[in-house]
């Protein structure tokens, strides 16, 4: 009895130990899958966003973000390889999660730079034309179109709809800006320099002066000594 029970007990201990090892391994695998499931959303977000805006970015930015995504894919590939021998990949996947979060931030930044560059010229134009009273309705329309656009801090589009909305907004801005296309280039240059407080009397050419006089804007300008506060 003692011999048989002792043998059964030893076998039971071993089975229990094996079961616990298997349980631990199963739990480790589940932990890994939970981490992967948490990671999947941000990765799809990043790859989709980058896919949408990639062609609009400067080449250097495009290469840099591509490499960042390759780095992320490399982390996950290594984790997949290690998974065969080390079922708990949570730590490696946390590293991937941190990387994808950083990449998402970089994609958003790249997008914001792009978006800002797309609208910056129109904001400058608005800064000039809004000082011209007889162009007030057009200025207001441009302003409305610019404000309706995503603010520069907005994240990169994660889907086609937002990208289309951005492009539509940009189209509206372009349409509204066309109202100012009749302005002669020297006049536009002069007004731009005035807006930047960099205009001098030399910029006030006869052509510009004539245009201002024609549109009754002469009283809108002061002349001051340069360098005086």
């Amino acid at each position: 009895v003692i011999v048989e029970n002792a043998a059964n007990l030893r076998a039971g201990y071993e089975r229990l130990e094996n079961v616990k090892v298997v349980q631990t391994r199963v739990q480790h695998i589940r932990d890994t899958r939970a981490s992967l499931e948490e990671l999947e959303g941000p990765i799809r977000e990043a790859t989709t966003a980058f896919g949408l805006i990639r062609d609009r970015l400067p080449i250097e930015e495009r290469i840099r973000l591509t490499r960042r995504l390759e780095l992320l894919a490399g982390i996950i590939q290594r984790s997949e390889k290690d998974f065969a021998t080390h079922p708990r990949q949570v730590q490696n996947l946390i590293s991937a999660e941190n990387t994808v979060k950083a990449i998402l931030g970089e994609i958003d930044q790249a997008w914001q730079g792009y978006a800002r560059a797309q609208t910056a010229g129109y904001w400058d134009l608005l800064g000039i034309v809004r000082r011209l009273p007889d162009l007030a309705p057009q200025s207001a329309a441009l302003h409305q179109a610019l404000v309706a656009m995503d603010p520069p801090s907005q994240a990169a589009p994660r889907g086609d709809a937002r990208l289309r909305a951005f492009d539509d907004g940009l189209g509206r801005i372009r349409d509204r800006a066309r109202a100012f296309s009749a302005l002669p280039t020297p006049v536009l240059t002069f007004l731009t320099l005035v807006a930047q407080e960099q205009a001098s009397l030399a910029h006030l050419t006869p052509e510009v002066l004539a245009w201002l006089d024609e549109h009754d804007y002469l009283s809108s300008f002061d002349v001051r000594f340069a360098g005086l506060v």
Binding site: R10, R15, V19, L36, T48, G51, I76, Q77
Partner: protein, 298 residues
Amino acid sequence: VAPAALGALERLLPLLIENRVPGRSSLPTPTEWRQELQAIKRRSPTAWQEVTDRLWQRVEPAALHKTLRASLNLARGGPRSPEQSGVFLDAATALDELEAFQADGWQLTGFDAKTDGWTVTWAQLADAWRILARFVPSGNAEAAGRLLEERGRLDRVMGTSDEETVVGAIGETLQTMSRYQKPNQVAGAGRLEIKQIAEARRRLRAVCSAAGRGDVVLSATLAVSKPTIDEVSATVAELTTFADFVSNELDAVEAELARIGVDDASERTEAELTGTAYRRILGAFPSAAPALTGEGRS
């Protein structure tokens, strides 16, 4: 029976039988033992002195029985005739008859047919029986009962296994428990030795055998000093405790295994699901990073 021999026998038997039975409260001290034996030897013929010396040594039940028979036969006394010595007992017959005598409730009836060739008188024989019977320890039944119980326990625990197998199983089990860091209160079983268990078994077998043969043989068997009844009990208790522990622990382990109810396929399924998740995630990359170069893997 010669008075000197009877006197020696009368003093020797209690020392041989009663004082070797563990649990008696009136054990003589070693000094008293020596003094008593010296006194017996001084009063005894040379032959009895030799017997005393031999009996003083540790003896097995069979040896003790044999010695008792020899000691009774020695009373015939060398070249002298039984008539000259006044003593003649066929010890083997005497002990056998003593058992039968006791079984009959110490009734003298029934001896007539068995006296052929005997040179002892009824009175002498009756005296001898009386002396021997007087020293049959009253605690025999109790001690034998206890040992019979111990034998039952030992048989239940050991089953048909030999000592070596049992000791091996204990050692392996303790090692396994240690390897898996299982707490236990049976480490003492690890000190059990093959010889110790074997001696306990032999002792118990001898007592059980003697128990069917009457009180004198049983007394002689119980009188063997090693291993003592307490030592035998301790050995059996150690084995029983270990066996009970193993049995309870086995129940607990089996219950634990049943509670956990592990599905062997679960690990494979989980691994497959996780592998799919990896592939799904990596599949999300090509649209954004079509050329996964080695740079990302450095």
